[in-house]
């Protein structure tokens, strides 16, 4: 999957969960400080990505999901692991 496509999909998913316009979810906007995300929304973002891409992200990664850029990077890491597992 193209990186840009992955970023756009995850941006839309996050925007839907936190009820913001996707244009506000810039790569480096901080979820907690800038976008008003709370811990339950963070959990929903994590679960939403797991469901959409059929991957499992461990609990300790939750704190790394602080911006769109970091979230995409974590998703990419586990997508790559999944693809390696199928190869």
């Amino acid at each position: 999957m193209q990186d840009q496509q992955l970023e756009n999909e995850i941006r839309d998913l996050i925007a839907g969960i936190i009820e913001k316009d996707p244009s506000e979810v810039t790569p480096d906007a901080k979820f907690f400080e800038d976008l008003g995300v709370d811990s339950m929304m963070a959990l929903e973002i994590m679960a939403g990505i797991e469901k959409k891409y059929k991957i499992a992200i461990p609990e300790e990664k939750l704190t790394q999901l602080a911006t769109l850029r970091e979230t995409v990077s974590v998703a990419k890491e586990y997508l790559a692991q999944k693809e390696a597992g199928h190869a």
Binding site: S39, M40, L43, E44, M46, A47, E50, K51, E59, L62
Partner: protein, 144 residues
Amino acid sequence: MPEIGIEEIQKTLPQRFPFLMIDRVLELEPRKKAVAIKNVSINESFFSGHFPGKPVMPGVLIIEAMAQTMIMLFHEEAAAPKEKAAVYYLGSVKVKFLSPVFPGDQLKITVEPLKILSGAGIVSAVAEVAGKEVAKGELSFSAK
């Protein structure tokens, strides 16, 4: 695990009349699956107002039954002494109501985790009457 009766349920759930929304737990695999039933009687206090002459179980109380079944997933932890027991807070609810529930119906509620972290989680919940889905959706919660 064998069925869990109402006395045991009350050790886990803090809710009481008129807000205890499950009568028995039929199946329990801690943190994996909980199945509970709620027998819906015309004597339920909410039927006097919802609605006079046309009793329909309020959807929010079906959600409450789902949430209480969800707490039973954590039966062992939740049954800790009261001072230590966690309080479970609903974070968000996405539920579709598919069919009304009437006096005489038996609700069967199945809850399974989608994602469980320490102190928070998301579960899927399905409520059925006589094998037919009447409500289903997802609940997220935190425990403090």
